[in-house]
């Protein structure tokens, strides 16, 4: 349940700010310390829990700070811009801003962004983006213009998506809004036009973003008082093109429709947003927390002295201007539960640990509290003399993670794991990953309700695991009949024992279609060929030449005859995939896995006959699909190869022939396989003949060159 705690004012003295309120509140490199920049000349560092300032810096009379100060998390220095173009960098020990490092830039800065885990970036008013290091290397470099003439940057945000920095900024031009997304790993700037939908005349007043899977969720608070959501893909399909994105209504009438100012929106977590503004046209301004999932108001707090329409959310604290004071309201959100709703939730004995549930804050979680911080400190630190680096010996993330596995909740482990995976890979990365998996499995054994599926999936997808590194993982998945994990393992592990492969096969063949329907299986290896081809292509199908040998040449007249008698049925069987797409994907994973025949054969004998028949039918179907084109390949990404299909057919028949031959349903299949093998044998014999004749040719050739046991030659040495 989301709750706002009792707020407190941060500054005893009113900020010397104009009507616009402070320029910004930014986190510093230490928790609980924030940089507050007022719109005049001052930057103040506050320790929030103590409610007192730790330091204050001002620019000279006549200069004006134009961009909120930020902290460079890599060096621990502070950066501010005054008079639009002058960059100042200082640290805690500097007293006078006039005497600190100064760089004058060639263009006007809109904002400097800095978050944990990456270097700060500078966004210019013309839309150009530069990394701080690159900019400082050559401050007077030419800054290009990205946005058009009358476009104005309205709002901007910098965050991490899957360990890559992404900067988004919104511009406005004649009432049209555009979103620009700059990804720093690919250096691609994508532009999106925000389509407003029906409510054309409304003016968007506040934005906020969060990252949800593969989309950046951009929320906007419109002047009509509604919150709209726009999804912008993180990986655009065509980054060059100007794309249009449509917004959808998320919450209706959270603030009064005719509120002029003092309206702001910020996303708190996946399901919660904070809205600042008057809920009704006549009422006082309020801070309210909304649950977007259930569209309910969770809590609200009146701000009778009015506010400036600015809202910052950093590390569980909401910052806003209340009257003339900067106010901090801590915000907490507990996991909601039915028991909680019914008032039956027992308060845990240890409220210090359990009362506060941790949330994934994508702004801070990436690289938060990581040991690699120090190593990643920028080179520029050397330039400044008096810098004091706080070298704390931090616990390595791996041990932290391993400790978390032993006791923490599943969700918390996931957070820790994501943190760990975000760090640069150390040489012993794979052994740590192995230990993590073993730890998870060990906990599962001790505590069967604990099923860290997401963690395991994430770990398997690191591509460093192998079967021997985490024995037991696949057994665990087999026990749980978790086909998705099994498929992942089969795809990723190079060293699965044959007995386990066979156990997977058993499960894949026996699992019900309805339970398969619910699972999320990677269908990459199965392209459209599993779609049933019903009719129209029967003529074509009957004329398949098997490796160039047409069945007519076959001596096996009567079996061919038998097949021809029921061409309709036979072709139908061969053209429609005998298994569903999802099962096909699973079986393909088996086909791709490595095995040794000797070890696999005894296990294959344990599979029930009807499953063997089904698998054989599927393999035969694949073979027919293969032989449809000249290259003998299947369509799609990473499909099973012809060799794999053939080997498996042989293996299955070797292991189960005596059983399969007794089943009436398998008779036709066996006959067609027999026919096929016959043609293969004739091919092989032809190949052998060719090989022998080639060898003879080679011998002849050799004899020509080497025949004489004795010769007299002329040799000239140069």
């Amino acid at each position: 349940m989301a709750a706002l705690e009792e707020g407190f004012t941060l500054t005893a003295v009113p900020l010397g700010s104009g009507p616009d309120g402070p320029l910004g509140v930014e986190q510093s490199d230490k928790t609980d310390q924030f940089l507050v920049t007022d719109s005049g000349r001052t930057v103040i560092l506050y320790k929030v829990s103590d409610q007192k300032p730790l330091g204050s810096w001002s620019v000279k009379q006549g200069q004006i700070i134009t961009c909120p100060a930020v902290c460079n998390f890599q060096t621990g220095e502070y950066i501010v811009v005054h008079d639009n173009k002058v960059l100042r960098i200082w640290n805690n020990e500097d007293v006078n801003l006039d005497k600190v490092f100064k760089a004058t830039l060639s263009a006007e800065v809109y904002r400097i962004h800095s978050i944990q885990g990456t270097e700060p970036v500078v966004l210019f008013k013309e839309g150009a983006i530069r990394g701080l290091e690159a900019l400082l290397a050559e401050p007077q470099q030419k800054i290009e213009t990205v946005i058009s003439d009358e476009e104005v940057i309205k709002w901007t945000k910098f965050f991490m998506v899957f360990r890559h920095a992404v900067l988004i900024f919104i511009t406005e031009k004649h009432g049209n809004y555009f979103a620009y997304v700059q990804k720093f790993n690919s250096r691609i700037l994508s532009k999106y036009t925000l389509l407003l939908g029906q409510e054309e005349k409304s003016v968007t007043q506040s934005f906020s973003t969060s990252v949800h899977r593969k989309f950046i969720s951009l929320m906007s608070l419109s002047s009509d008082g509604c919150v709209y959501e726009t999804l912008i893909p993180v990986h655009p399909s065509d980054p060059e093109k100007n794309q249009r994105v449509v917004r959808s209504l998320l919450l209706k009438s959270v603030v009064s429709g005719n509120a002029r100012s003092g309206v702001a929106l910020t996303i708190l977590d996946q399901d919660h947003v904070a809205v600042l503004g008057p809920p009704l046209s006549a009422s006082k301004e309020c801070l309210s927390i909304w649950n977007t999932k259930f569209q309910t108001l969770q809590t609200s707090k009146e701000l009778p002295q009015g506010t400036s329409g600015q809202l910052w959310y950093h590390g569980e604290n909401l910052f806003m201007l209340h009257g003339k004071f900067l106010t901090v309201i801590p915000y907490k959100c507990e996991v909601s539960s039915l028991a909680g709703a019914l008032g039956k939730l027992k308060h845990s004995q240890d409220p210090d640990i359990h009362a506060m549930t941790h949330f994934v804050n994508w702004e801070t979680s990436q690289g938060y509290g990581l040991g690699s911080q120090n190593s990643e400190q920028s080179k520029r630190i050397l330039r400044r003399r008096k810098i004091e680096v706080s070298v704390q010996l931090e616990v390595p993330p791996s041990t932290q993670l391993l400790a978390a596995i032993q006791k923490d909740s599943e969700k918390h482990i996931e957070v820790e794991l994501r943190k760990f995976l975000a760090v640069k890979r150390t040489p012993d990365f794979h052994t740590i990953i192995g230990d993590v998996v073993i730890g998870l499995l060990g906990r599962y054994k001790a505590e069967p309700s604990f099923y860290p599926r997401n963690c395991l999936m994430q770990l398997i997808q690191t591509r460093v695991l192998s079967y021997s590194l985490c024995p037991g993982l696949m057994e665990f998945a087999l026990e749980k009949t978790d086909v998705q994990i099994l498929q992942l393992c089969l795809q990723q592990f190079p060293d699965i024992p044959e007995s386990v492969t066979c156990a997977c096969l058993k499960i894949f063949l026996s699992i019900g279609d309805d339970s398969l329907q619910e699972t999320d299986i990677n269908m990459e290896s199965v392209s459209d060929y599993t779609a049933t081809i019903q009719d129209g292509e029967i003529e074509e199908q009957t004329e398949i030449l098997q490796n160039g040998f047409s069945p007519e040449e076959d001596n096996c007249k009567n079996c061919a005859q038998e097949l021809i008698e029921k061409p309709q049925a036979a072709t139908e069987e061969s053209t429609s995939c005998p298994v569903t797409g999802k099962r096909a994907a699973l079986l393909n994973a088996i086909l791709h896995s490595a095995y040794s025949e000797t070890f696999l054969l005894p296990h294959l004998k344990d599979i029930p006959a009807q499953h063997i028949t089904l698998f054989l039918q599927y393999l035969y179907f694949l073979y027919l699909k293969c032989s449809e084109n000249a290259t003998m390949t299947l369509p799609g990404i990473h499909p099973p190869t012809l060799n794999q299909i053939m080997d498996w057919i042989c293996l299955l028949l070797d292991a189960n022939f005596t059983v399969v031959v007794m089943i009436p349903e398998a008779k036709r299949l066996l006959l067609s396989l027999y026919k096929f093998v016959k043609s293969q044998i004739s091919i092989c014999s032809e190949l052998n003949k060719i090989e022998v004749s080639f060898r003879e040719l080679q011998k002849l050739n050799q004899e020509k060159t080497n025949r004489e046991l004795y010769s007299i030659e002329v040799l000239e040495l140069f």
Binding site: E708, L709, Y710, V714, E716, L717
Partner: protein, 686 residues
């Protein structure tokens, strides 16, 4: 550089014998190899794998087992029932002792080197005590039902494992009684074979016994309980050999299909202490049975019926890129089997049990580079000289005039006089050889064929004057007091004044033949000498070593020549140093004193001392320059090493006259054609 008429000879029908055993000595980093004809060769792995010593074979002495004991003593045992110790200094057999158990199939020296164990045909395992100068029978272990094919000591020396037919016995050394008998499954892939032969066993210090057998299995047994622990089926055919590393963390097995498998002891999971044996790497360097394997600290060594000795370095153990990092395949002996009578254009080929004398053909035609000239007269096989007795020929030589042939076996020295009457040859044995001329390691005739030099295995060199049909012993150069090393290489100066002789490790001795005294000794070098020759006129001694260094030493001045110092200062080209076969013969051009002709198995080279030396940036092996290239560029890029790789594998090369070369090639295909067919492997699934 010049144009030569090249007699390209491929009729030297030499087939090396298959390798039967290999034994690696960690202390001296030497490898002993025994072949099916009984020859035992010693390779010095530290000296660029040079075959520095060999013991000639014997028809009745089929070696079945070879081992090093008590430091550097070498023993072999064979089907004639004898245990033989070799004298590594004098290069002869120290003694042979009958074990009285019938043919011996296996032998193993105890870990402390003081005892020797042999496994015999009659099922007995006999323990011998190694005394300083002999071995002494101690006792028999419990007699088994069938022959003992393999033996292995527990590293503590308390137990032994003995592989027999269908079972492995574990003996307690103290009591001599079998404490376990582990029966091996005869079945192979469901088919019952007649017998399962345990070709090899290895006893680990934790009590595990590893066995390899004729059913293609590598099995791990617990010797304490006598139970099978683990079974690896690795081949469809026999697994014939096993060797384990000293650390017991890796071993190697060889199969009859020519595959060598490497097994390693690896951790089951990361940072767990539990380890298991895993088959890690297969190597297919052989076409035939791998009869013997050895495991040096850095390499897997294998040999078999296909006669190659393969040294496969383990890349994880090799630290620097040097000789050790390269795969070695040694096929030909590192000594000369061909001698040549230049004036009569005769070639003498040495085989294990006979000699062949051939006369080269001739042509009147001329041609340009690369042409094959029409023969006006083909090569003639003049003589097939069968040796007497069961012993192999050690060395042989034909005199430059072609009228003397000498050869030696381990116990007898033979000298023949040849008379040529048109096409008829009259062969006459010179009888009554003196008693001291019993066996020779090297024979050499002087340029004018009046003197014969014989290096005997006592370190002495005999000088004999040859007269028409008789001879006279002139002098014996005795070894310096205290050295017993025998001389293996001889070289005489064309004017007959100087004789150079070299052993395997000490320096080269130069004798004055006129005054019959030691003239000087070339300082000893770290690597053994592979070839020696004395240049005409200048009397410069050219010495090639196994590390591919070539020195030139002026005999009259008793010092290295200026050229030799220059090339030592600059260093040889890196590609020259990377060649992996030693130089086996050096000769000179009678008219061009600046030229040195030398060859190894894969190239021959003319070093022109007047040209600048190549540095590492220049192309060492220059291909034939295009014809349109101007002479100026050619001259600028010319360097002292003129190399031709046209003829290979090259067993012999010499200069017959100013414009004629003779090369003796032995194509590998011809050797393979004479080997028994390998196990056929199927292709294309039929």
């Amino acid at each position: 550089m010049g144009e030569f008429k090249v007699h390209r000879v491929r009729f030297f029908n030499y087939v090396p014998s298959g390798i039967r055993c290999v034994a690696y000595n960690n202390q001296s980093n030497r490898l002993a190899v025994s072949r099916t004809d009984g020859t035992v060769e010693i390779y010095n792995l530290s000296a660029n794998y040079f075959q520095e010593k060999f013991f000639p074979g014997h028809e009745s002495r089929a070696t079945e087992a070879l081992c090093w004991a008590n430091g550097q003593r070498l023993f072999s045992a064979g089907l004639n029932g004898e245990i033989i110790e070799y004298d590594l200094q004098a290069l002869n057999i120290k003694y042979a002792m009958d074990a009285f158990g019938g043919p011996i199939w296996s032998m193993a020296a105890s870990p402390n080197g003081s005892q020797l164990l042999v496994g015999c045909e009659d099922g007995s395992v006999k323990l011998f005590q190694i005394t300083p100068d002999k071995i002494q029978f101690e006792r028999n272990f419990d007699r088994q039902k069938s022959r003992i094919l393999s033996l292995s000591w527990h590293p503590a020396g308390t137990h032994i494992a003995a592989g027999s037919i269908d079972y492995i016995s574990v003996f307690d050394v103290k009591s001599g009684s079998a404490i376990h008998k582990m029966l091996v499954d005869r079945q192979y892939m469901g088919v019952s074979k007649r017998k399962c032969i345990i070709w090899g066993v290895a006893f680990l210090s934790d009590g595990t016994v590893i066995s390899v057998d004729s059913a293609g299995k590598v099995q791990f047994w617990d010797s304490a309980t006598g139970t099978l622990v683990k079974n690896h089926l690795i081949a469809n055919t026999d697994v014939q050999s096993i060797a384990i590393s000293d650390q017991e963390d890796s071993f190697v097995v060889g199969t009859a299909e020519g595959t060598v498998f490497h097994f390693q002891l690896v951790s089951v999971t990361s940072n767990s202490s539990e380890k298991q044996w895993v088959r890690t790497k297969p190597f297919q360097h052989h076409t035939h049975d791998v009869r013997a394997v050895a495991h040096s600290p850095i390499a897997l060594i294998s040999g078999g019926t296909d006669t190659h000795l393969v040294i496969r370095p383990l890349m994880e153990k090799v630290e620097v890129k040097n000789y050790d990092a390269a795969l070695r395949k040694i096929t030909f002996p590192h000594r000369r089997l061909v001698s040549c009578a230049k004036k009569k254009q005769l070639l003498l080929f040495q085989f294990a049990h006979h000699l062949e004398l051939w006369r080269l053909g001739s042509t009147v035609a001329t041609g340009k580079n690369g042409d094959t000239l029409p023969l006006s007269k083909n090569a003639d096989h003049l003589l097939h000289l069968k040796t007497k007795g069961p012993e192999n020929v050690i060395c042989s030589c034909i005199s430059p005039c072609g009228s003397w042939i000498a050869y030696s076996t381990a116990s007898r020295f033979f000298l023949y006089r040849l008379n040529y009457e048109h096409d008829n040859i009259n062969l006459q044995r010179v009888s009554k050889m003196p008693a001291f001329l019993r066996s020779a390691l090297q024979i050499l005739f002087s340029e004018d064929s009046t003197k014969l030099f014989v290096a005997s295995n006592q370190g002495s060199v005999h000088v004999i004057r040859l007269l028409e049909g008789s001879f006279k012993h002139l002098h014996t150069f005795q070894p310096q007091s205290g050295t017993v090393e025998s001389m293996c290489l001889l070289a005489v100066s064309p004017d007959g004044n100087w004789l150079a002789a070299s052993g395997t490790s000490a320096g080269v001795h130069v004798y004055n033949v006129k005054q019959l005294k030691l003239h000087c000794t070339v300082p000893a070098y770290n690597f053994p000498v592979t070839a020696l020759a004395i240049a005409p006129n200048t009397n410069n001694l050219v010495i090639a070593h196994s590390d591919q260094q070539v020195f030139e030493y002026s005999i009259p001045d008793k010092q290295y020549t200026q050229w030799s110092r220059t090339i030592q200062k600059q260093g040889f080209h890196h590609l020259w140093l990377q060649r992996d076969t030693p130089i086996t013969h050096i000769s000179f051009h009678p008219k061009r004193p600046m030229h040195i002709f030398l060859h190894d198995a894969y190239m021959f080279c003319i070093i022109d001392k007047s040209l600048p030396l190549p540095n590492d940036k220049t192309l060492l092996y220059n291909p034939l320059p295009p014809t349109n290239e101007s002479d100026i560029i050619r001259r600028r890029t010319a360097h002292a090493f003129k190399i031709s790789k046209k003829y290979k594998p090259l067993l012999f090369m010499d200069l017959l006259d100013e414009r004629t070369l003779v090369v003796v090639e032995r194509p590998l295909d011809d050797i393979i054609a004479q080997l028994p067919p390998p196990i056929k492997k199927k292709k294309f699934g039929t």
